[in-house]
Amino acid sequence: MSNEHAHAPAHDDDEHNPHLAHHFDTMGQQTASAKLGMWLFLATEILMFSGLFLAYFILRMLYPEMVLEAHEHLSKWAGGINTVVLLTSSYTMALGVRSIQLGDVKKLRLMLVLTILCGCIFMVVKYFEYSAKFEHGMLPGKYYSAHLHGYEIDGLPHIFFGVYFMMTGLHGIHVAIGLAIMLWMFVRAGRGEFGAKNYVAIENTGLYWHLVDLIWIFLFPLLYLVK
């Protein structure tokens, strides 16, 4: 028989770690599982966005001049500020992960607040950007009415704005979800749930936030800096 029963070896102090779930043998196994799960989840996110990126490339290939002309109506300043803000937030997030690895809960909470603040600035800038587009009638598909507001863009600009709103909108939803998660982590950190040996949830939050940042790093040049 291939499967003989042998007595399971007793593990060190893991047995008594309150954070160890019943079905894992060691904290190491639990942490490695959580990390692998997160990386797989990030892969699904990238694949989901890849559909939109593909749609963008086809659009740009079919109507290069229209995309060039339409993109002039996006605010490079707003996009640029948001890029800086998000990059900064990734830095504070990384510092937060580093803090908890060293067991500094107070600094972790500070860094989470700073990251959340950056995320909020991003959303506020986005709000003003979207408002401007709404006012100018630069809306997706059949709601497009920029020509009625005195903006003449040759070709089929409504499809460009459709893709613009899909991509930035889906990204914006991810930012909002990230903010909610960080707020939750802030509360959990306040309850003393994290420490130098138990920080995988913070690390995973960080990974998610870096991905959100990374997607924006691609969105910004593709949409705002076509020329």
Binding site: E4, H22, Q29, A55, G141, G155, I159
Partner: protein
């Protein structure tokens, strides 16, 4: 009549099984036990199998005569759409992975549970919400786009496309979560001593499936999201009048849905590998070849989607490449079939019900696989595209392959899951009815399609009538076989003999614990020292078929 080889249960039942360890409705609704979730999935997928099966019988019955009988063209469109959408998204995709896979994966790995038990529970409820959306779509204005939701029709029809696609979108997340959970489980939860070369082949198959689920389903999610936005906001990305491209939708859709076909069939391969080796009491032939061919199929599945677009206006070069790559799928698939047959050769075969289903699979799946070759041949596909030939090929793979494997697996692991033995004679009668009914139904459709009968028509020319009637009668036999199976399996729950821990003499770890297993699966963490298919000397006195 064969009696099973019974091995000694090393641990007499001292702990209550997972079925009775906790009591009350709530203990089921909030359970994180993979075995209970497996059963809950099983009940759900069976419910939808029944619903979609009834729709199929209604379709076949309408086709008994060339003219309209009891369905209008519009009703017929809705019925075949719902049949397809429910079968694909609520039955076949979750059937083997979420029901049997959930139950078996941790047991076969020697683990206490999957890596993320709460995520597993969430995944079940996400699936339930998706089901509610699809049911709401049916009850409101129905759906008549076909399960593929092709634009431009899906953006212009008046039926509940948004509700239904939202349901499918949500079901996709359930599938992603299950896949993610399984990948991590296989990587991190294996018992001491179980390296990759000692994993049961069912685990290999579920693992390959889970990888496809994780990598392909997000693309379906974004496709359906685009479709929903297209329908609600008219962004025009699939609308040529607005500068979009309807063929882009087909590319997007099949980039998911072709790998999804392998999400549906790979777990079936895994079941057959287990059934064939255990019931022939012989070490599986070509363990590594079978394991790695699952991975190969998973990889190739991502680069063949264009064979659905041979007549959609894609470039000739793309057509040739996709045709070639599609042929390539035949290689790893044939490796599997040959390995199974080689395993049976000189084996000590016990003709149990599960084994009968294994044999049935070898026939029906091989027919299904071989008829894929003419379809992937460019010139022939132009003639056969959108005919009953495609319908027959698809059903030979999905019903003759996956469903037959699923029912076989259900019989193989029924004693483990429920702790009860079913009546073997009843099982064989059921298998025979299913096999005959299935072949009569769908073999006929190859000929119908070859003669030019297009799919999705509610009425047809009189010269097709005879074959349509044969096919319809076959569908009734198939339905009778399935109902019969349902009845004796349910009967066994109440009147069946108590199952021993290892009724078939399997060596994989799920047979090392009691039937049904205890809540945490094993009394002690099992240690693995060898292949999962090293059968001990056959004990002639204990049984086998004579």
């Amino acid at each position: 009549m064969s009696t099973a080889v019974q091995s000694h249960d090393p641990h007499p039942a001292v702990e209550p099984s997972y079925l009775v360890s906790k009591r009350g409705l709530m203990s089921w609704l909030v359970t994180v036990d993979h075995k209970r979730l497996g059963l809950m999935y099983l009940a759900s997928v069976m419910f939808f199998f029944l619903i979609a099966g009834i729709l199929a019988i209604a379709l076949r019955t309408e086709l008994f005569t060339p003219d309209q009988d009891f369905m209008s063209a519009q009703t017929y469109n809705q019925v075949f759409t719902l049949h397809g959408a429910i079968m694909v998204f609520l039955f076949i995709i979750p059937s083997v992975p979420a029901a049997l896979g959930n139950f078996l994966l941790p047991l076969m790995l020697g683990a206490k549970d999957v890596a993320f038990p709460r995520l597993n529970l969430l995944s079940f409820y996400v699936y339930s919400v998706a089901a509610v959306f699809l049911i709401v779509a049916i009850l409101t204005s129905g759906l008549d786009t076909g399960w593929t939701f092709y634009t431009p029709y899906s953006t212009s029809t008046g039926t509940a496309v948004i509700t239904a696609t939202t349901g499918v979108f949500i079901a996709g997340f359930s599938s992603i979560l299950t896949g993610l959970n399984f990948v991590v489980t296989v990587h991190k939860m294996r018992a001491p001593g179980m390296n990759w070369n000692r994993m049961p082949l069912f685990v290999w198959a579920i693992y390959s499936t889970a990888v496809i689920q994780v990598l392909a389903t997000p693309v379906l999610a974004i496709t359906l999201l685009l479709l929903i936005i297209e329908r609600s906001l008219g962004i025009g990305i699939f609308d040529p009048a607005m500068g979009g491209d309807p063929v882009l939708f087909q590319h997007f859709f099949w980039f998911y849905s072709h790998p999804a076909v392998y999400i549906m069939i790979l777990p079936g391969f895994g079941i057959i590998s287990e059934i064939i080796t255990v019931h022939s009491r012989k070490h599986i032939f070509g363990y590594k070849a079978i394991a790695l061919s699952s991975v190969a199929i998973a990889v190739i599945s991502f680069v063949v989607w264009g064979h659905h677009l041979f007549v959609s206006g894609q470039s000739e070069l793309a057509g040739v490449l996709f045709s070639f790559l599609t042929f390539a799928v035949g290689v790893p698939t044939a490796i599997k079939v040959f390995s199974w047959v080689a395993t049976l050769y000189k084996g000590s075969i016990q003709y149990n019900t599960a084994c009968w289903y294994g044999m049935a699979f070898l026939w029906t799946f091989t027919v299904g696989g071989l008829t894929g070759l003419p379809l992937s041949t460019l010139a022939i596909d132009v003639h056969l595209h959108d005919t009953y030939f495609v319908v027959a090929h698809f059903h030979y793979v999905m019903v003759g392959g996956t469903v037959v494997a699923f029912i076989g697996g259900l019989h193989h692991w029924w004693p483990k899951m429920t702790g009860k033995m079913f009546n073997e004679t009843a099982g064989k009668i059921g298998c025979l009815l299913v096999f005959i009914g299935f072949n009569v139904t769908f073999m006929t459709q190859f000929f119908l399609g070859h003669q030019g009968m297009p799919r999705r028509y509610y009425a047809y020319l009189p010269e097709y009538q005879t074959m349509h009637q044969v096919s319809t009668i076959g569908s009734w036999i198939l339905a009778a076989g399935l109902l019969w199976t349902l009845i004796y399996l349910l009967h066994s729950l109440f009147k069946g003999e108590k199952a021993p821990s290892n009724p078939w003499g399997g060596v994989t770890l799920e047979w090392a614990t009691q039937s049904p297993p205890i809540e945490h699966n094993f009394h002690e963490t099992p240690h693995v020292h060898g292949s999962p298919y090293d059968f001990p000397e056959i004990d002639k006195s204990a049984g086998g078929h004579h």
